[in-house]
Symmetry: C2
Subunit: 285 residues, 2 copies
């Protein structure tokens, strides 16, 4: 049951004789004859009626040729999958929350158009666990917030650099940040997230002690709370812009400025590293 024998069987079904099939397959008539004999022996069935010249396919032989066609089509699909240029295969990619909203849809759309032989199994989660998953090979790549130190073995490709800004609730437009920390609730993004960790470290380094603090684990929830006057926050400017309600004001951070990098993380030395730039290009748009 070598693929070549099945190819010959299909050729016989198409051309009606072993000799013509042999020509088409660039084989000797003798080789084709032996292939068919071996095939019949292996399948334990008679595929040909040999009481006539040329031998005719039996009903079973015709059906077998049909199945052989399907098998050969599967083989061609396998070859095509690997042969073509560009991204191919099943990519397991993690996206942090902000990226799943701002990057993922465009990425999938562009990938479907420009890399039709690639499929994507996407999951959402936190930067830290994604970094570990990429390092361990459970994921091929992940879009995360860059955190120092860079885990060893990971290569990072920057997708975007985003300035963090304060978002102040309605009625607090004039409030200086220092006053805000004294007088308002600080709505803090959960510190197990990349952004949350960055903000917490920033506060500690700048010696900023919020009078009151509420920890939330969703950006949209935080911004809705800001719009509702519950307090202020510090988040990437694009997210603030995305979710800011009426009356919410955006104020650059000057204590000092803080940016977060959205990066694509891949395992250094892995095959994914060679495709990292291509993936990043699809993610940037």
């Amino acid at each position: 049951m070598t693929p070549r024998a099945l190819q010959s069987l299909v050729a016989i079904a198409e051309h009606g004789s072993l000799s013509r099939a042999a020509e088409v397959c660039h084989l000797t008539l003798s080789a084709v004859s032996m292939q068919m004999k071996a095939l019949e022996a292996e399948l334990g069935a008679s595929l040909f009626d040999r009481t006539t010249r040329p031998p005719r396919l039996t009903p079973l032989g015709r059906a077998a040729a049909e199945e052989a066609r399907a098998l050969l089509a599967a083989e061609r699909r396998l070859r095509d999958l690997c042969a073509g240029p560009g991204l191919a295969g099943e990519w397991r990619i993690g996206f942090i929350q902000t990226a799943s909203v701002r990057i993922l849809p465009g990425f999938l759309a562009r990938a479907a158009a420009q890399a039709p032989r690639a499929r994507f199994a996407v999951e959402t989660g936190l930067s830290e666990s994604f970094a570990q998953a990429v390092a361990r090979g459970r994921l091929d790549a992940a879009v995360i917030t860059r955190a120092d130190p860079v885990p060893p073995g990971l290569r990072l490709v920057t997708l975007a650099s985003e300035e963090l800004v304060y978002a102040l609730p309605p009625g607090a437009q004039r409030l200086a940040p220092a006053e805000a920390f004294a007088r308002l609730r600080f709505l803090q993004f959960a510190p197990e997230t990349g952004i949350g960790r960055l903000v917490a470290a920033h506060l500690a380094a700048a010696g900023l002690q919020p009078a009151r603090r509420v920890v939330l684990d969703g950006i949209e929830a935080i911004m809705e709370s800001v719009a509702g006057g519950l307090g202020f926050t510090a988040l990437p400017a694009p997210d603030v812009a995305r979710y800011a309600g009426p009356g919410v004001t955006m104020r650059p951070m000057r204590d000092p400025a803080l940016t977060r990098e959205v990066v694509l993380a891949v395992l250094a030395g892995s095959p994914a590293e060679r495709e990292a730039d291509r993936l990043a290009a699809l993610m940037r748009g």
Copy 2:
């Protein structure tokens, strides 16, 4: 790209390492390693990330394993098609008109239940051309009206013996056949058909000369015409019974009696001959 190598690839995808795959496939670790190396060379793609132990499948490798699964499933379908007992394959069978109405539906229903691995490509036509088609191998079998002499090389299995009867129109119940031939139109089934030929030969042998004759090529059309009073006819009793309208009377032929045999014709010596009895059993019900 031998099937065994693909089997190994799938096993690696399932079990996560070459060594476990080798166990499962009853192969040496070395053999599996070489299979994968050969596979990558043939496909021109790297399926494994070998910077780690055990090597991990690349995204392309995972997708390739998926396609390999499909290919192996196709192989299993081919084996299953040929392995099982009973009728299998694609049978090209011809049915004459009367058989297509009275035998074909039940045959297909019983075959679907009792021979699920068989498919049937059915066509309708005339006994004579079907006999030729079976003799030439264009059809595997045909249900036809037996005609003497039996074409050489054909084997016939009787499915049914049907008496031919006269069908007389409303108002002619009392008419003796001899009178009918003198006074009524004879609605004759087209003589290129098996029944038509039989009837024509019978008339000639019995010296019966219809006063007027109309040739039609459909049994239903003939019987509708009889019911409409256009004339009388001679047809197999089951067909007359099937289509007889109100007032139509059936009268046995006594000049002398005439029967037609419905037979299954197969090519002697062909693989189909070995299945002829099984086919006939499915046709008789």
